[in-house]
Symmetry: C2
Subunit: 168 residues, 2 copies
Amino acid sequence: MFVLGIDPGLSRCGYGCLGGDAASPMVVGAGVLTTPAADPLPSRLAVLAEDLRGLLAEFRPDAVAVERVFFQTNAHTAMSVGQASGLALAAAARAGCEVAQYTPNEVKLAVAGYGAATKDQVQRMVQRMLGLAQAPHPPDVADALALALCHLAVAPRLARIAAAEGGR
Amino acid sequence: MFVLGIDPGLSRCGYGCLGGDAASPMVVGAGVLTTPAADPLPSRLAVLAEDLRGLLAEFRPDAVAVERVFFQTNAHTAMSVGQASGLALAAAARAGCEVAQYTPNEVKLAVAGYGAATKDQVQRMVQRMLGLAQAPHPPDVADALALALCHLAVAPRLARIAAAEGGR
């Protein structure tokens, strides 16, 4: 199963694609999509949408895991993050992928074992779980890989629960 | 000049396309895009994105005016409105349109003459300015038409200011 994790953002949108399963995940590709801060918002969103479509065409993931966005203290940033998440969710659904959203706490719980892990701890856990020589950098990449790891861990459990409920 | 006004929303996204100019605007088309509330969010966003692309292909507007979204008291609604606005802005920029965002206050000021106008007053002013037999309904349609009227009124002023500054 290929899972593409997306940490939505307008200035920096992290992505990380994993293959394999929760026991032996493999990095297929990872990086950051950026848009020029000097460009008008609509152009930046159009570029991001195009780049997201490009990622989906390149990796052809079975599932896409997008960070669930909440309102933050910085209302301006939160709105652009919300707009970026809308593009990611729409592009993933349009590409026919299974789409899941996870809160930052759910991701930290799945990857670091507890929901209050720091960014640094998440980076190191992602590095260890994926057997990487270095911690993924910038943190947006680590967050995207952590989202994909979270989905690899959670999806089989959810499938088992659904199967058990269906068999009642 | 064709101007497409978009009042972004996931359950109801109002749109209104005007031709002509501020002195004699004409309605080219108006309505509401809806997505099924029971469907998963990613699917709804994908459907909305597709419908927005369809509108842009149908009306081929020169400019698109999108309501500038702010955080509201209902955080859940505000996020889906933000996601919908992201799709509208990206689709408009990708279609090569001039894209403008106006706050609700700017629109009310342009259409009703003051920024604290009620929804009802906006509906009646839009009806009068466009010579419609009835007030546009639902309010999402009136808001979208008001956005297009606002752009028709404001765009020539901005162009004159830009020309004057360029000629200095």
